[in-house]
């Protein structure tokens, strides 16, 4: 019971920390105290926090290395954009339209999550990693072939496999509008994402993941991670729980994608390539596997880092790479860990005196 209380405390602190940060940033934003570059990053940061938290469910809690998480974000983004753009007339109230778009984005990602997860979760370790990577690439390529438009007859969807077709082949009416133009991506998006919506999504993701971890299902997922054979021997259905973690994670990534996509006027599928998957994985690993609040902090810090390194101008990404390597080396260095352990108590003693 003590552990339950301790875990509850950590969870509560996580919720509180996120809420307080949101309130502060929101007040600053509405008061116009934020520079435009920071204000413009509030929604993307929320999206990437949800991405990191959801990927942590797969990599940290379920113990499967996924290198294609951005693929689900992509599916959610374009699904959400199609929903929001085609409902522009039917649902004029933007927050409701955004909610619908996010739900649609999540559902699209769930479907793809199932399609990918059922066969792939039979594989182990690095084989699973390479297949998720492959799926991420396939999803990107498929979206690059997608032509979608909307007019009074409803949605027009065409698959441009030969690469010879263009948006004109949809034969939209005069009043119709193109939504996705193949490799040019989604265009003319009405930006309806907002920082409060991002905050709500982050909180939802936290509630889902944290409550799941500290329950029967979450323990089953972690048991399978720790020892698959023992987990089977106590009667756990391996496929069910692996799939639960994978699909739930995909759903959250899809929701994050929808919010992300509706934050920009246009969006191309290559925004969600392998590098984006890797970026989120870096957040998760640096934040600590299975550590949810760690993922949040790592996301915020690393998302802002290139911005903070602006003074290095051209050397910015080089410094970023060096910081990344040094952090990995430092966090895995036994001598440094021992040194830190020696320093921290001394500091406490000094404080006491």
């Amino acid at each position: 019971m003590k552990n339950l209380k301790k875990a509850t405390k950590v969870d509560f602190a996580t919720y509180l920390g996120v809420t307080v940060s949101f309130v502060i940033m929101y007040i600053l934003q509405t008061g116009g105290h934020l520079s435009s570059s920071i204000a413009g990053q509030l929604v993307p940061i929320c999206c990437f926090i949800v991405m990191a938290v959801s990927l942590n469910l797969v990599v940290g809690i379920s113990g499967e290395l996924s290198l294609g998480h951005a693929g689900f974000m992509s599916v959610g983004a374009f699904g959400g954009i199609i929903a929001a753009q085609s409902l522009a007339g039917a649902v004029p109230f933007a927050p409701l339209r955004l909610t619908i778009a996010i739900v649609v984005g999540a559902l699209c990602a769930v479907i793809i999550g199932f399609v990918v997860g059922v066969p792939v979760l039979r594989l182990r370790g690095d084989y699973l990693a390479i297949v998720t990577l492959a799926f991420g690439q396939i999803i990107k390529d498929l979206i690059n072939c997608l032509l979608v438009g909307y007019d009074s007859h409803g949605l027009h969807i065409m698959f441009n496999i030969s690469g010879l077709k263009s948006i004109n082949d949809l034969h939209l009416e005069e009043t119709g509008k193109a939504i996705i133009k193949g490799a040019q991506g989604a265009v003319g998006i009405t930006k309806i994402s907002s920082f409060p919506a991002g905050f709500i999504l982050v909180m939802l993701a936290l509630v889902i993941v944290l409550n799941l971890i500290r329950s029967r299902s979450g323990r089953a997922i972690m048991a399978i991670r720790d020892n698959r054979i023992a987990a089977e021997s106590v009667g756990l259905n391996i496929t069910k729980y692996k799939l639960m973690a994978f699909v739930l994670s995909a759903a959250m990534a899809g929701a994050a994608g929808a919010l992300y996509g509706l934050n920009y006027g246009s969006l191309v599928a290559s925004r969600f390539d392998f590098n984006t998957s890797i970026l989120v994985l870096v957040y998760v690993v640096l934040g600590g596997l299975g550590n949810i609040w760690g993922s949040i902090i790592a996301t915020v810090v690393l998302y802002m880092l290139p911005e903070a390194l602006r003074q290095f101008s051209n050397y910015r990404m080089l410094v970023y790479a060096i910081v990344l390597i040094l952090v990995m080396l430092a966090t895995n260095n036994d001598q440094l860990k021992a040194l830190l352990r020696r320093i921290i108590p001394t500091r406490k003693e000094a404080d006491a005196q």
Binding site: P119, N314, M317, I325, M328
Partner: protein
């Protein structure tokens, strides 16, 4: 006839993948890590060769050798500085570090050589008889395929018969036991990186000779493809990497020609997925069930 042309270009591309995959598979076999920086070593090899040819005016053979030397040193330095301290850490820590190294190499290349693509001059200077040329065979393709076969055979002989090769196999089976048998594990891993990186340099030169656009991100996609090829053939297996690379190149080339240019990569990846679902450890990979 057209089919034959595409097949040849596929085999040539596949040979490049195979050379990279051989390096990948050796490093994976021994260090059990996804070395995402491997593709960027290819790019560095391409640039060194480009500089040697165009700025230093070296003959092609010397340029290739210089590229190999630089990449070998680079590979050993990367291993020693970034991967060796993480030998006891989890595989994810090494993976992230490899990604950091990849970012570093790409951005360093961009700072040194600029982001604008360079037009690579082929290192192959002879012409084929016109009969062969009309079949769609280029001198680059011929050299690439020959190089790949020579490397494959040499590597197989080296791994199976040389002392160092045996040490590598021992380390990839069980590092602890290898150490107890008096094998210097660190040195063996270091040597594996050296060989893998030298192969990457050759692959870089051949890749740029056939597809003469050189930029800091040149290595990324071939790197990922070659890794796919290694997994496809069964990671850790040298003939597997060879077959996987060739098949991948041919599939990609034919898919581009007959199905869709945009979806060519996807088709390659889809074939990989199907192969892994049918044979979870790749074409020639060994299945080792967990002992209960």
């Amino acid at each position: 006839m057209v089919f034959f042309t595409y097949l040849i270009s596929g085999i040539s591309l596949g040979s490049v993948y195979a050379i990279i995959a051989l390096g990948y598979t050796m490093v994976y076999g021994i260090a059990k890590m996804l070395n995402f920086a491997h593709g960027d070593v290819i790019m560095v090899g391409g640039y060194i060769c480009y500089i040697a040819l165009n700025s230093l005016g070296l003959p092609a053979v010397l340029a290739v050798i210089l590229a190999m030397i630089v990449c070998t040193v680079l590979g050993v330095v990367i291993e020693g500085l970034a991967y060796k301290p993480l030998r006891q850490a989890g595989s994810l820590a090494v993976l992230i570090t490899a990604i950091g190294v990849s970012y570093f190499l790409q951005n360093a290349a961009q700072l040194i050589w600029g982001a604008t693509p360079k037009n690579f001059t082929s290192v192959v200077h002879f012409n084929l008889p016109s009969g062969l040329m009309s079949l769609g065979l280029s001198s680059e393709a011929l050299i690439t395929v020959l190089a790949c076969i020579v490397i494959m055979v040499a590597l197989t002989a080296f791994v199976n018969h040389s002392k160092l090769g045996k040490a590598m196999r021992a380390c990839s089976e069980d590092k602890g036991a290898a150490q107890l048998m008096g094998i210097n594990v660190n040195r063996t891993i270091s040597m594996t990186f050296a060989i893998g990186s030298a192969l990457a340099a050759i692959a870089g030169v051949l890749l740029c000779s056939s597809y003469p656009v050189l930029q800091p991100t040149t290595g990324s996609m071939p790197g990922i493809k070659a890794f796919t090829a290694a997994v496809f053939g069964g990671i850790g297996s040298i003939p597997g990497a060879f077959i996987g690379g060739l098949l991948l190149g041919v599939i990609e080339s034919l898919a581009k020609a007959y199905i869709s240019t945009t979806l060519a990569n996807s088709i390659v990846f889809a074939v990989l997925i199907v192969v892994l679902l049918v044979k979870p450890t790749g074409l020639l990979g060994k299945y080792a069930p967990e002992k209960v």
